[in-house]
Amino acid sequence: MYSDGLFLFVIAASLSAQAPPPTSSADLLPGRRIFEGQCAPCHGIHGEGGRGPTLHVSRLRHAPDDTALADLLQNGIPGTGMPGFFLSEGETAQVSAYVRGLGTQPAAPVSGDAARGRTVYQTAGCPTCHIAEGAGRALGPDLSEAGARRSLDYLKRVLTDPASTLPEGFLMVRAVIRPGEEIEGLRINEDSFTIQLCDRDGAPRSLRKAELADLVREPGKTWMPTYASRLSALDLDDLLAYLAGLRGTP
């Protein structure tokens, strides 16, 4: 019957009395099957991350313990792309156990020099659009926890093929005020009657759709350039090492 609520699955299930998590690979199989069907589209088939963060971390930011993880699986994380799922108590325990197991996998080895990568980050112009270590401009995503949230493979893809990694809801638009007068920007928010953009200077712009000559959507477009040809392989590895080490404040 599910009906209520935009972010669905608001399930106030009691999760305190769970059985001990299964640990053998046979026990983990049911959880893996559910994971591959329902979680992998965002978190990657092996939990390496994708649209959603990597799960190859020893401590999940939103789920420090099993109770929190079960609650998160059932209710989602408000304000993020993580929905809740219709899982029974048993299924929740199965998925939890599988997800916990992903956290014990060794992280991919980092070959670059992070200290040198920090310099590459500065000289390549990254702070023009991103914040890391408290500095920079927030036109693009905040990178303060990039290493904790994203796998090395994913970060590499962002640098070399950024259009393939655009998050859910990311959209560049071109608002045509009148012929010849346009504002290109990153959509901050949109409803049926208005749209709010962040323009190239990082300034918010508020527009009523009825007053626009045209509103051109540019799916797949991003201001983020590819660094595949802009940086040497060595610089790229060092930059990746630097990003992988960004883990926010403890």
Partner: protein
């Protein structure tokens, strides 16, 4: 001066003390009393249409907020307030009733149920959609599955009846329906493996008068559509308010999904009377006829949408019809005397049926059932429509519907029934974001043909209300409360309420002036012309 103030105070007090003497005859004649809103859908035919015409396309852009009432509970507000004799009766989450002074929005009384600490709502939020009024009493269902009668003047408890055991997943979120001497209530629990029913209670005493089980037991007609013991956990909840024909004395009520939701392997057969419209005799709850929209549903497409009653006056006679814009994306028209299927046409994107046969049964496309890997089907689990209300304009025979355009990957898992736990056997991953959108659509009520469509940014959770002034009011997830031209769908006015709108609008008179109200975020907002 003081004497005058006292006189005014006396008049106000008198007005409030006379509040809510709402005999059955007033509800039957609700269309002749457009200043009030006496039952969940505005009238027994579930039109959610206001005959008021002070607010028009020419002046709607001058609407202003008259007052707001703020609630404290963090859960979603889905209430449809009722209005009678200077008082607004609204519910608040989780199971609260508040009477508000219609002139100011100031509370007159509040009744709150202390919910059990071990209460779980399985498959839905801690919400309530409204009350019923009859004579001097306010009726409300609670999350722990009680039906409660309150004195309309004070909120004092008159009676409290246990409808079902909340510990195994029963709950009440929908507004009751008050008819002559009886209070009809449905039940939630389709994700908990309940056996659904519809109940009627004596309005004076709270004694149960009849119960219609939506899942037939062995020996009853329809039981053959179940396998083994699957009927015992077969679902078929009745969680949204139905409609009523006082002439035929039939109650029309939709039923929800079979359990488990997304794995039908253990319940082969049509699974009557799930995903159906029931016509029950008000007198004794006997089944007059049924129509099943989605036999053997495995997508959670409850048929609990509002059944709208209207007449086809072509050919020189008035044929009694019932329409439903169903969650499965088809719009249906049936003869409401006999249940005969007349019209069925998609009103939103659907990828599961190659139309309907001459009896209205869907001609299923292959490979639409949930799988472990996920099966992409339109509409999504939440459906093209859901609990939020459509509106019917009886002058132009147009049905206005808030429509969800979204697909889902449906997953199947192995269901395990444990009393009081989720029993669903799968789930979904909705194609939300920019791939999904919403609309308000105007349908020719007799043919289902779309006359116009106004696009919404995202699939809505708010109902619509048309008015004789030529407007259709609606709400959006992004907080817009808006008015469209009923003739063309052209947007004429919008107001950012600052909170998601997941409720149905109503309209009424306050001191002779037309008002429009809707719940938005955690508030009720009332609008009027200056």
């Amino acid at each position: 001066m003081r004497q005058m103030a006292a006189g005014i105070a006396f008049l106000l007090v008198t007005s409030i003390q006379n509040a809510a003497q709402v005999p059955y005859s007033r509800i039957v004649n609700a269309p002749q009393e457009p200043g009030s809103w006496l039952t969940y859908s505005g009238n027994y035919s579930a039109h959610r249409y206001s005959p008021l015409a002070q607010i028009t396309p020419a002046n709607v852009n001058r609407l202003r907020v008259l007052w707001m009432y703020q609630m404290n509970d963090p859960n979603t507000v889905e209430t449809t307030p009722l209005i009678a004799d200077g008082v607004m009766y609204a519910t608040e989450p989780p199971s609260v009733v508040t009477a508000l002074d219609l002139r100011t929005g100031r509370p007159l009384w509040t009744w709150q149920r202390a919910l059990p600490r071990d209460l779980k709502t399985i498959g839905f939020g801690r919400v309530n959609r409204g009350v019923a009024l009859l004579d001097g009493t306010v009726y409300v269902g609670t999350l722990d599955a009680h039906l409660v009668a309150l004195d309309a003047h004070s909120g004092a408890l008159r009676w409290d009846t246990t409808v079902a055991d909340y510990k195994i997943g029963h709950s009440i979120t929908g507004a009751p329906l008050a008819i002559e001497g009886k209070i009809i209530t449905g039940i939630s629990g389709g994700e908990a493996g309940i056996r659904g029913f519809l109940d009627a209670y004596d309005a004076k005493t709270g004694r149960r008068l009849w119960r219609f089980w939506t899942i037939p037991s062995p020996g009853e007609r329809g039981h053959e559509t179940w396998r083994g013991d699957a009927w015992k956990t077969g679902g078929g909840p009745t969680w949204v308010t139905g409609s009523y024909d006082p002439e035929l004395r039939l109650v029309y009520w939709g039923t929800g999904n079979p359990g488990p939701d997304w794995n039908g392997d253990g319940r082969s057969g049509d699974n009557l009377y799930t995903c159906s419209l029931l016509a029950l005799r008000a007198e004794d709850g006997a089944l007059q006829w049924h129509f099943q929209f989605t036999p053997h549903d495995d997508h959670d497409w409850d048929a609990t949408e509002i059944p709208v009653l209207f007449e086809d006056r072509r050919n020189g006679r008035a044929r009694k019809l019932v329409a439903m814009a169903n969650r499965n994306a088809f719009y249906y028209v049936l003869d409401r005397t006999t249940g005969e299927f007349l019209v069925g046409a998609p009103y939103a994107k659907q990828t599961w049926a190659n139309g309907l046969d001459e009896k209205g049964r869907p001609k299923l496309l292959p490979n639409i059932s949930p799988t472990a890997e996920g099966t992409l089907v339109y509409p999504s689990l939440q459906g093209a429509a859901n609990w939020f209300s459509p509106s019917f304009d009886p002058v132009h025979n147009v049905l206005f519907a808030a429509v969800r355009e979204m697909g889902s990957y449906y997953y199947k898992t192995d269901p395990e029934y444990r009393p009081g736990m989720m029993f669903t056997g799968g789930g979904e991953r909705a194609l939300d974001g920019d791939a999904a959108y919403g609309a308000v659509r105007a349908l020719d009520a007799i043919t289902g043909e779309t006359k116009w469509s106004f696009r919404l940014q995202s699939p809505p959770w708010a109902g619509v209300m048309a008015t004789a002034g030529g407007l259709v009011f609606g709400g959006s997830n992004e907080g817009n409360f808006f008015a469209l031209d009923a003739a063309s769908g052209t947007p004429l006015w919008d107001f950012q309420t600052g909170g998601t709108i997941e409720a149905n609008p109503v309209s009424f008179l306050m001191d002779g002036k037309q008002c429009v109200a809707v719940a938005a975020g955690h508030a009720i907002v009332v609008f009027a012309l200056p």
